[in-house]
């Protein structure tokens, strides 16, 4: 009896992990949170390879990878963080045309977002409106969308004037929370957030003209320590394939292909 119990225990705990391959671990930028999980599911259906995403601010993920976090692939919200990992010898893009440059897999879009029940509607004029008391942006020192937000405001020559009315959030999700909770009148967030069911139900957005900020190019790198290089390449190819790129477009990212 105890024998049989032990065997079934082993079967439950041990066997599946022996049979199934370890899932690919993806470190993904916060703006991919609403986008990536369905794509990974399709990837699983197409190839049988399991992949799990951890969505966090790109800066946090970079620090974690620098300190040995067991990720296989890093999908950043910009190019500077993956470049930093390549320069440190911790990541690469071996197999692509230039193995020292991150692979751009999509471009981000910056939008101005307000709640539907607020008196203000999103437009460029709103940024000059004195009724705009609090404008939320993501931290410009590390969040790519925060950097884009400051660049856009500077290009409109209203950054200095708005400065005292700006509140800074940790990442793009928190920026949206500041506005969605009604504490900030408007926020500069990612189109991927604005298109989520939750935020598209409660608010409206205005796409900031692309010539106002440098493109938010999102770069991918392979974490050099990975033991599943072949699977990582399959996922990268899948991500860059036309159907998936078209799907990214629907979720608020601009395809690169």
């Amino acid at each position: 009896m105890p024998h049989r119990f032990l065997i079934s225990l082993l079967a439950v705990l041990g066997l599946p992990s022996l049979l199934a391959q370890t899932p690919l671990r993806i470190a993904a930028a916060a703006d991919l949170e609403p986008v990536l999980p369905p794509i990974l599911e399709q990837f699983h259906e197409a190839t049988g390879i399991d992949a799990e995403a951890t969505c966090q601010a790109s800066a946090v993920l970079t620090t974690q990878i620098q300190n040995g976090a067991p990720f296989d692939l890093f999908l950043s919200a910009d190019l500077s963080y993956p470049k930093r990992l390549i320069d440190a010898g911790l990541a690469d893009t071996a197999g692509s045309s230039d193995s020292s440059t991150p692979i751009t897999y999509a471009k981000g879009t910056l939008v101005l977002w307000t709640r539907k029940d607020s008196q203000l509607s999103p437009s460029l004029d709103l940024l000059r409106d004195p009724h705009l008391k609090r404008l939320a942006i993501a931290n410009p020192e590390r969040a790519p969308y925060g950097r884009a937000a400051v660049a856009a405001l500077a290009n409109l020559k209203i950054y200095d004037e708005l400065k005292t009315r700006i509140v800074t959030a940790e990442n793009i999700a928190q920026t949206a929370q500041f506005v969605d909770s009604g504490n900030a009148d408007a926020g500069l967030i990612s189109l991927t957030s604005a298109l989520t069911p939750r935020l598209s139900a409660s608010g409206a957005y205005f796409v900031i003209p692309r010539d106002l900020y440098p493109p938010i190019e999102q770069g991918a790198v392979i974490v050099s320590n990975t033991s599943q290089r072949a699977a990582v390449h399959k996922l990268l190819d899948f991500l860059l394939s036309p159907p998936v790129q078209a799907q990214l477009a629907k979720s608020g990212l601009t395809p690169v292909k």
Binding site: A59, N139, V167
Partner: protein, 222 residues
């Protein structure tokens, strides 16, 4: 070193500690002296801030104090500005966040006062106010010190609530812990080390001074 952030943090911790002591002394006395069974619920509520992750507590406060709730609208009308993203908002958040750190030592200290003394005081006709200020406060002054020190330090180290409720505004809501986090996140480890060393040195010096004073007094009693 960002002295503005340091000054802001010390001001926040001082005001929070003062408010907490004013609130916690009567609250803890009520919890110790009171007979109602509802006090168990009250004590549980006063301990709750320990359970919630601070960022979640901050998020709840952000929503509660925002213009979408009646409480938030009332506070805004009263103050003329919303509490979120302001120094007063951080004070409210810190008081709630550090409440258990003031109440727990006080309840323990007050409960340790010899019950016979409390009964004697009652028989002699002392009202609860007099019991608190002539018995509890002088006899439990080490608990009072512990409550003050813990509330102060807990507020200095407060991060999640400030992160959610503050909006990182220099001079208003950018506290030392937020500054430190920014420096670490921006890979500016040299500044982060400097800020952390100053914070830790100041804390050790201040704590050692307080505790050595306390030890001396204990020595004279023995």
């Amino acid at each position: 070193m960002d002295w503005q952030a340091l000054a802001l943090t010390l001001r926040l911790a001082t005001i929070t500690t003062a408010i907490l002591l004013v609130l916690s002394i009567p609250l803890s006395a009520l919890l110790v002296l009171g007979r109602s069974r509802w006090l168990a619920v009250l004590e549980a509520l006063a301990t709750l801030p320990l359970v919630l992750p601070p960022t979640v507590l901050g998020f709840f406060l952000l929503v509660l104090l925002g213009p979408r709730t009646a409480i938030g609208r009332g506070v805004t009308a009263l103050l003329g500005h919303p509490l979120a993203f302001s120094f007063s908002g951080l004070v409210v958040g810190s008081v709630i966040y550090s409440l258990p750190f003031a109440v727990q030592p006080l309840v323990a200290g007050f409960a340790a006062v010899e019950p016979a003394l409390v009964d004697a005081a009652r028989l002699l006709g002392a009202n609860p106010f007099r019991i608190v200020f002539t018995l509890f406060v002088p006899l439990a002054r080490r608990s009072l010190l512990a409550a003050a020190v813990l509330s102060f330090l807990h507020t200095v180290g407060e991060f999640g609530v400030v992160l959610m409720l503050g909006g990182d505004i220099p001079g208003a809501t950018r506290t030392l812990s937020i500054l430190l986090y920014n420096q670490v996140e921006n890979f500016d480890y040299a500044s982060a080390n400097r800020t952390a060393s100053i914070l830790l040195t100041l804390s050790v010096v201040a704590l050692a001074a307080i505790y050595s004073g306390n030890r001396k007094r204990r020595g004279s009693h023995a």
